[in-house]
Amino acid sequence: MKSLCILLFFTVSLFGKENVLVKITEDVPYLYVNHMGQKIKVARIQDTNNILSDDYTKTSRACPPFCIHPTKINDEIQTIAEVEVTNFLKDKVPTQKGIVIDARLKSWYELETIPSAINIPYILIQEADKNMAQKIFSLLGMKVQKSGKWNFDTAKELVVFCNGVWCEQSHHFIEGMLKFGYPAKKILYYRSGFQGWKLLGLTTVVQKENKK
């Protein structure tokens, strides 16, 4: 029994030793999130010679509509970058205080997305009436008071992204949200978007249709 314990100890110490070469930030080597009931490790590609070769390496798309967008959507919406997004994934998402929103069309979302992101295509809010907006907002934690007023105190913080700096899908989404009164303070715009995410070799999720 003793020998077994020693052996176990050695194997554990051999494999348990972890040395992440490419960390996310200096303090965060990787993190875990849930995506559709699956625990997913969000890390960067560890091969230091890796270069993007297939997806998101395209340099040119016709502008309009694929034009380069300014840093800020408007004065109220805060623009964030990858470190803020990963911190958000680490702190806000597990406690259900915040959600990462993929504002792209469903087909984009299913092709590949950021782990833990949920898909609210911009057209949903863009073409919504007040009734629909109320439905969406209440899903996002907004409460309707007895007087019929909307109370956003418990509404979730949202990180909104689309394909990147040349993509205006999050613009349409955020504009739609603001039109119906979602507090601008609770919306964060991840401008580099999915291309920025891919560029850093961060983990993505692909959805596979269950064929039965």
């Binding site: 052996l7 070469l21 560890q46 091969d47 010679n49 997806d55 694929f66 087909s107 949920i118 249709e209």
Partner: protein, 283 residues
């Protein structure tokens, strides 16, 4: 230990005789059973560890060089020196100076290049010789870079095998998730609920789409159809190609959809063959 030696021999004899093993078994001391157990465990452990490392080694097989559509940079051919080439612009001079500085750091290399250069351009004037040597240095310098990257590659794979304790992160870093119909947590439920709303909306307004929406749906389609073409090299197998393309040697069947000839006879690949590699997940 030593005193027991005759008894062990005796046991050995008993073992080889026609005696029943059961009779012999209780005579072994407690210590020896422990030692036997230990050796068995250690052997087992070595076997397991060896198996794991062997498997990883096979998985991270790096001996295959990646074939890309990009042609490999070839070292620049030795330029024959003519008198017109004496005129250098300021930028060119600067570049040559930089290369010279870098080559100075690698003294042995420089010497070898100089000797080859001398052989090539013996009949030329001394001034031409210097220029020629500088130009030849460029070629060698490029080779040096190639060597450096190769060394880096081998280094980095070592680091990967060392660091991967969880699931190894491959060069695509994609996790395939099954679509669920039953919500796992609140966020999941929210996602499903919104999915339902989206579907409702799509059913309502299937014909009416803004121009922007139309153009981006087109973009999705081009991405789905996106493909890369690789050229088969000597020593390639389908599984090696699949490993390069998708990070898994078992994904070779994904190549079949775009290469119908392969589906008929997977063994028929030849050097120089162009294979179409679909990028997006097949649905």
């Amino acid at each position: 230990m030593f005193k027991k030696k005759p008894s062990i021999e005796h046991e050995y004899m008993q073992y080889n005789s026609d005696d029943v093993i059961g009779e012999h078994a209780p005579k072994t001391s407690f210590l020896s059973t422990i030692i036997r157990l230990l050796t068995i465990l250690i052997l087992l452990g070595i076997l397991i560890i060896g198996g794991v490392f062997g498997y990883r080694y096979l998985q991270d097989d790096r001996s295959v060089k990646v074939v890309d559509t990009k042609p490999e940079p070839t070292p620049t051919p030795i330029v024959k020196v003519t008198k017109e080439q004496k005129m250098y612009t300021q930028d060119e001079m600067q570049a040559i100076m930089q290369m010279m500085m870098q080559n100075l750091e690698k003294q042995p290399k420089v010497e070898s290049t100089k000797t080859t250069v001398e052989e090539n351009t013996q009949s030329k004037e001394a001034e031409d010789l210097l220029i020629a040597s500088l130009e030849n240095m460029e070629a060698d310098f490029m080779e040096d870079i190639h060597l450096a990257t190769e060394i880096n590659e081998t280094d980095s794979t070592k680091e990967i095998t060392q660091s991967s304790s969880d699931k190894p992160v491959d060069n695509y870093n994609k996790v395939v998730v099954d679509k669920t119909t039953s919500p796992y947590d609140k966020v999941d439920a929210l996602s499903l609920e919104i999915g339902r709303l989206v579907k409702e909306m799509e059913d309502k307004k299937s014909t009416k789409k803004s121009t922007y929406t139309q153009s981006i749906t087109k973009e999705v389609r081009t991405r789905k159809d996106a493909m890369r073409i690789i050229i088969v090299k000597k020593g390639d197998t389908l599984s090696k190609i699949a490993k390069r393309a998708y990070g898994s040697a078992l994904a070779y069947d994904r190549l079949y959809s775009e290469n119908p000839d392969l589906a008929k006879n997977p063994n028929r690949i030849y050097v120089g063959q162009r294979l179409r590699i679909p990028l997006a997940e097949n649905k």
